[in-house]
C-alpha cells in the first residue's frame, strides 16, 4: 500500500492544464491507492486559476464550480464569474440553450453523415453560459426529455465523512433536488 504518497502541485497543475506528459500520467494511473491529500491540493490549484475570491467547494465541469458565495449560500459559478444560482437546482436551467433538430444542423457536429443521429428520435441540446458562452453541457436525447440533472453532490457528507473537514454551514436540507422550484415558478409565469 502506498497510502502516504503525495503528488506535487506542479503535476496537479499539469493535469488541470492538459500539459502532463504521458509518463507522469501513467505513473498516476498506476498508483495502487490514490493520494489522500489530492482534493485540497486540487481545490487550491483551481482557486489560483479563477479570477474571483469565492471559495470553491467542488468542481463540476471544466469551467463550472460549486462555490460558497456567502455564509449559508452555495451556488454554481462559471469560470467567467457568472453565477447560476443555488446548486440544488439544476444549473442547466440557468443556461442559454440551442437545439439542433434537423439533419442539416446535426451534420455540423457529427461526421460522416451516416454517423449522425436521427431527427425526431433525437435532438442535440447545447447549454451555454449566458455571459461567456462557454458550452458547459451537451445532451443528445429524445424530444421532450426532461433536462438531466447530471450530478447533485451531498456536500455535507462529502466534507464530513469522506474528507474529515466538515463545512461550517452544514444543514439537513442541502442534499435536495430543488429543480422543480424553478419550473414551478416558470409555470406560474405562464
Amino acid at each position: 500500500m502506498n497510502e502516504d504518497v503525495s503528488i506535487s502541485p506542479e503535476l496537479i497543475g499539469q493535469l488541470i492544464d492538459g500539459t502532463i506528459d504521458s509518463d507522469n500520467a501513467q505513473r498516476l494511473l498506476r498508483l495502487e491507492r490514490k493520494d489522500k491529500g489530492r482534493f485540497f491540493q486540487y481545490i487550491d490549484a483551481l482557486q489560483q486559476r479563477v479570477a474571483w475570491p469565492e471559495k470553491i467547494l467542488l468542481r463540476l465541469g471544466d469551467k463550472l464550480y460549486i462555490v460558497a458565495s456567502a455564509p449559508g449560500k452555495r451556488v454554481v459559478k462559471c469560470a467567467c464569474g457568472h453565477e447560476f444560482g443555488d446548486y440544488r437546482q439544476n444549473w442547466k436551467l440557468g443556461c442559454k440553450i440551442r437545439v439542433k433538430r434537423t439533419l442539416d444542423d446535426m451534420l455540423t457536429v457529427y461526421d460522416p453523415a451516416p454517423a449522425c443521429p436521427e431527427p425526431d428520435i433525437q435532438e442535440i441540446r447545447e447549454f451555454f453560459c449566458p455571459v461567456c458562452a462557454s458550452q458547459h453541457a451537451v445532451e443528445v436525447v429524445a424530444p421532450g426529455y426532461p433536462v438531466v440533472f447530471e450530478m447533485l453532490p451531498d456536500l455535507d457528507k462529502f466534507y464530513r465523512e469522506y474528507l474529515g473537514r466538515p463545512l461550517p454551514d452544514e444543514g439537513s436540507d442541502w442534499y435536495q433536488d430543488r429543480t422543480d422550484l424553478v419550473t414551478r415558478e416558470w409555470a406560474k409565469a405562464g
Binding site: 490514490k34 436551467l93 451516416p114 443521429p117 428520435i121
Partner: protein, 746 residues
C-alpha cells in the same frame, strides 16, 4: 451413478455416511449471515489472513494462478479465433454458491452470472435429484435461469466436490461463433422471444467425470451452424475447467478442507471491504444521473409476428448513488420489456454494469464476488432489466446494456474529476460493432460465423486532459484487440478485406476529442451457393451511444453499416482506386467512380443481406466521445488532426472548432492564429444570439409536451417510462404538467 435422497442430504461416497448441506441450505446460510452481519457469510474478522498473511496470500495466488493458467493453456488446446486471440473468453473459480473467487484475463464481468446459475440449480435441487458429483459438467446459456447475458455467451460449469461435498465450481466461458438462431450468428437480431434466440440451455448436465456425454456433440452439430468452431470451444472451456478442478483438489490436499473453506470466505470479504473503501476514496457522495436511447426497428414483421410488428424507442435510465455499503445503481425509469431481442435479465444487466465497477474499484484487490456485494442494484419488475414475462428474448441485450455500463462508468469519471483524480477521468461510450451470418460453399459445406473485430478494440473516449486513443479500449475486457484479419477471412471464405482502418472524423468532438472508431470494407468474391450477413451493434447511429456528453463535449456517434450491392468494383481494381473505409466508399460513389445498383445505409439493425460477387459491405463502429467545449480546443491540435488526416474535411472542422487555416501545395495546413481568435470570438457571440433562455425554451417545449407532439416511438417511450414512479415524478415536476396528463397507450 448418483441417487436421490428423500431427506435431502447430498450424495456421499459409498461407505461413507458423511452428510452435507444441500445447495439450498448453503444459500440460505450464506444469504442470512451476509444480510445479518453486512459481512460476506458473516466473516467479520479476517482471521486466517491476520494469523499468517504469507500463507493466506500463497493460498490465493495458487487459486489465481490456476485460472490464469487455464486460459493461457486451454485456448491453445482448441478454440475458435475469437476465443484464442481476443478477449472473448474467461475462466473462473467460484464457491459452492457460485460466488467468484478468482478470474483469468478476459471479459471479466461475466462472473456476475455464476451465482444466478448455481442458485437456480439449488432451488431446483439438482444436488438432491439426482445429485451433483465431482467432475460433473453443466452447460448454461439461458438468461433467466442462468443469468447469461445473451445465448451467444456460452458457459461450462464443472462441479468440484471433495469427499462428496460440493466445495466449488470451475467455470469457463466464451463467445460462440454461431448459436443456431433464425438469424445466423451469435446475437440473434429480430428475435421476438426466447424461442428465437438459438441454443438456449438452462443449467443442464452434459457430462460426467470431466468428459462430455456423446450426445452433446450432436447438439452442436444439429443445433448450430458452426459445429466445428463450437466443438473446439466446448473442448477449450472444459479443458480449462479441468485444470482449475485439478488445481483446486491439490490445493485442498495441501491446505486442508477447513482452511480452504474459511479462506475462500475471507478472500471475498477482504475484496468487498477493499472495494467499498475504494468507492469511499474515489467517489463524491450524491446522485449521478445518466441516460441513453436505442431504436429497435421491427416494423415490417407483421406478416409473421404481428405482435412484434412495431418500432420501439428504448430508454435506458440509471442513477448512481454512493452510500456506506458501496453504491446503488437504480435503473427505474428505463423502458419496459418488449417483443424484441434487446431485453436483459438481472444477471445479464449485472454482467454489463459490473464492467465499469470492476475496472474502477477492483483494480487493487482480488477480483471476486466482492463487487456484487458492494454494488446494490435496482431493476424494477416489468422493466427492460427484469421482465415479468418469462420468455423474453435477450439475444441482443448488449446493444443497450453497454450503455447502462457507460452511465455507471461515467458517474465514476465525473466523481474522479470532481475529486481531483483527473488522470482517471475520461468519457465512456462503449460503442461496438460486429458482423455475423451464414453461408454455403459450392461444395455444399454450410457454415456460420461471427466476426468480433470492432467488439475487440474500440476508440477510448477523451480524457479530461488529452484526446482519446484509437483501438486500445474495450470496456468489457482488458484484452483490447480487433483480432487477425487473416483468421477472420479464413472463417468466412467469400469475404475479403479491401480495407480495415481508423475512420477519420468518426468520434465525439470536444476540447479533447474521442478516439476514432474503426471501419472495414468487406469484398464478396465467389460466394458459393449462398452467403448472407447481419450486424448486431452496441448502439446504432440513429442514436448516440450515450445521451450526455462530458463537460460540454459531444458524445460519440453510434455505429452504422453500408451495403453496396451490384458494383463495378473490377473496374476500380483496374485503376487501383478501391475504398478502404466508409468515408472513401461514399466519396467514390459521389465522384461517380464506384457505381452501385443497390446502396443502403443502415443506422438500425439490418435484415439478412445476401451478397453476390463484387458486392461490398462496409461497417463502422467503436467511436467514442469527447471532453470539454470544442471552442476551447488548442488550435494546434486541430491543425494536427487536419494534417494527420484525422479530421478529413476542413469546412466541417473549421466550423466546429472555430479555426482558420490555410493549406499549401503539399496539403499541409497552417493555422492563422489571429483569424482563429476572431472567429472564435464571433462564434461565442453567435451562441448567445442563436440560443434561447432556458425559461423561453422550456415554455415552448412544454407546449409541445402538452400536445404530445412527438412521433409514436417517442410517445410510447414516455408512456413506458412513466409507468415507473420515479421517472413519472421527474417528468411531471420538470414540465409541470396537470395531474391528469399522461401518454396513453396507442
Amino acid at each position: 451413478m448418483a441417487h436421490a435422497f428423500d431427506n435431502r442430504t447430498q450424495l456421499s461416497p459409498p461407505g461413507k455416511e458423511v452428510r452435507h448441506q444441500t445447495l439450498k441450505q448453503m444459500f440460505e446460510k450464506r444469504d442470512r449471515l451476509t444480510q445479518q452481519t453486512g459481512h460476506y457469510c458473516g466473516v467479520s474478522e479476517l482471521t486466517l489472513r491476520a494469523a499468517d498473511p504469507i500463507k493466506y496470500e500463497r493460498f490465493y495466488n495458487k487459486l489465481h494462478a490456476a485460472v490464469l493458467a487455464a486460459r493461457e493453456s486451454a485456448r491453445f488446446v482448441a478454440a475458435s479465433p475469437g476465443s484464442r486471440e481476443m478477449g472473448e473468453s474467461l475462466w473462473g473459480l467460484a464457491t459452492p454458491e457460485g460466488d467468484t473467487l478468482a478470474v483469468s484475463l478476459g471479459f471479466l464481468s461475466h462472473t456476475a452470472i455464476f451465482p444466478v446459475s448455481v442458485r437456480y440449480m439449488a432451488e431446483k435441487e439438482y444436488d438432491v435429484n439426482d445429485g451433483i458429483e465431482d467432475g460433473d459438467v453443466y452447460a448454461v446459456s439461458d438468461g433467466l435461469t442462468g443469468g447469461v447475458p445473451h445465448p451467444g455467451d456460452f458457459y461450462t460449469f464443472v462441479a468440484i466436490c471433495y469427499e462428496g461435498e460440493i466445495v466449488g465450481w470451475a467455470v469457463g466461458i466464451n463467445h460462440l461463433m454461431e448459436n443456431g438462431a433464425p438469424v445466423a450468428g451469435s446475437w440473434a437480431t429480430f428475435s421476438v422471444d426466447t424461442f428465437m434466440d438459438g441454443l438456449v440451455c438452462p443449467p443442464m448436465r452434459t457430462g460426467r467425470k470431466l468428459k462430455q456425454e456423446s450426445w452433446w456433440k450432436a447438439i452442436w452439430q444439429r443445433r448450430t451452424r458452426a459445429a466445428t468452431m463450437n466443438i473446439l470451444d466446448d473442448k477449450m472451456r472444459l479443458a480449462g475447467c479441468a485444470m482449475v478442478h485439478d488445481a483446486t483438489h491439490k490445493l485442498i490436499k495441501e491446505f486442508g478442507l477447513d482452511y480452504y473453506k474459511r479462506a475462500t470466505r475471507e478472500v471475498i470479504e477482504e475484496s468487498r471491504r477493499m472495494i467499498v473503501d475504494n468507492m469511499h476514496a474515489l467517489m463524491v457522495p450524491g446522485t449521478y444521473n445518466g441516460c441513453a436511447f436505442r431504436l429497435v426497428k421491427y416494423k415490417g414483421l407483421q406478416q409473421i409476428w404481428s405482435h412484434a410488428d412495431k418500432n420501439t424507442l428504448l430508454h435506458i435510465r440509471a442513477s448512481v448513488e454512493p452510500n456506506d455499503k458501496g453504491l446503488l445503481v437504480d435503473t427505474e425509469g428505463s423502458s419496459r420489456w418488449g417483443y424484441h431481442s434487446y431485453n436483459a435479465t438481472p444477471g445479464g444487466a449485472d454482467a454489463a454494469l459490473f464492467l465499469g465497477m470492476m475496472n474502477s474499484f477492483a483494480h487493487n484487490t482480488k477480483v471476486t464476488a466482492g463487487i456484487e456485494l458492494a454494488v446494490q442494484r435496482h431493476y424494477p419488475s416489468g422493466s427492460l432489466y427484469n421482465p415479468d414475462y418469462e420468455f423474453t428474448s435477450n439475444a441482443n441485450l448488449w446493444a443497450q446494456t453497454v450503455s447502462l455500463n457507460s452511465i455507471g462508468f461515467n458517474a465514476v469519471s465525473r466523481a474522479m474529476f470532481s475529486r481531483g483524480y483527473l488522470e482517471e477521468a475520461f468519457t465512456v461510450d462503449g460503442n461496438w460493432g460486429a458482423w455475423q451470418g451464414s453461408g454455403q460453399t459450392d461444395e455444399g459445406v454450410s457454415y456460420g460465423f461471427t466476426n468480433f473485430e470492432w467488439l475487440g478494440g474500440t476508440g477510448r473516449g477523451a480524457w479530461c486532459y488529452k484526446d482519446g486513443e484509437p483501438i486500445v479500449w474495450a470496456a468489457w475486457s482488458q484484452l483490447a484487440t480487433c483480432g487477425d484479419a487473416e483468421e477472420f477471412e479464413s472463417c468466412v471464405p467469400p469475404l475479403f478485406y479491401l480495407g480495415r482502418k481508423l475512420l477519420p472524423g468518426y468520434f465525439g468532438h470536444g476540447k479533447y476529442r474521442g478516439g476514432p472508431g474503426n471501419s472495414a470494407v468487406h469484398w464478396c468474391v465467389k460466394p458459393g451457393k449462398h452467403i448472407a450477413v447481419t450486424r448486431p451493434n452496441g448502439g446504432l447511429s440513429c442514436t448516440t451511444s450515450v445521451g450526455l456528453g462530458m463537460s460540454g463535449a459531444y458524445p460519440g456517434p453510434g455505429s452504422f453499416m453500408i451495403s453496396a450491392r451490384g458494383t463495378n468494383l473490377p473496374a476500380l481494381i483496374e485503376t487501383g482506386e478501391t475504398p478502404r473505409d466508409a468515408r472513401e466508399l461514399l466519396e467514390l460513389i459521389d465522384a461517380g467512380k464506384l457505381e452501385v445498383e443497390n446502396l443502403e445505409i443502415w443506422k438500425t439493425d439490418c435484415p439478412e443481406l445476401a451478397l453476390k460477387d463484387n458486392d461490398l459491405f462496409v461497417d463502422a463502429a467503436g467511436s467514442s466521445g469527447g471532453w470539454g467545449d470544442p471552442l476551447d480546443r488548442d488550435p494546434a491540435l486541430v491543425i494536427n488532426d487536419l494534417n494527420d488526416g484525422m479530421a478529413p474535411r476542413y469546412e466541417f472542422t473549421a466550423n466546429l472548432y472555430g479555426i482558420v487555416a490555410t493549406v499549401d501545395a503539399a496539403d499541409v495546413w497552417t493555422l492563422d492564429a489571429g483569424a482563429t481568435a476572431a472567429r472564435r470570438a464571433a462564434m461565442r457571440q453567435a451562441r448567445i444570439g442563436d440560443s434561447q433562455t432556458a425559461q423561453a425554451w422550456w415554455a415552448s417545449e412544454r407546449t409541445r409536451v402538452l400536445a404530445r407532439d412527438f412521433i409514436p416511438e417517442v410517445r410510447e417511450m414516455y408512456e413506458q417510462s412513466m409507468s415507473f414512479g420515479k421517472f413519472d415524478n421527474e417528468f411531471r415536476k420538470f414540465w409541470q404538467v396537470p395531474a391528469a396528463f399522461n401518454f396513453p397507450k396507442e
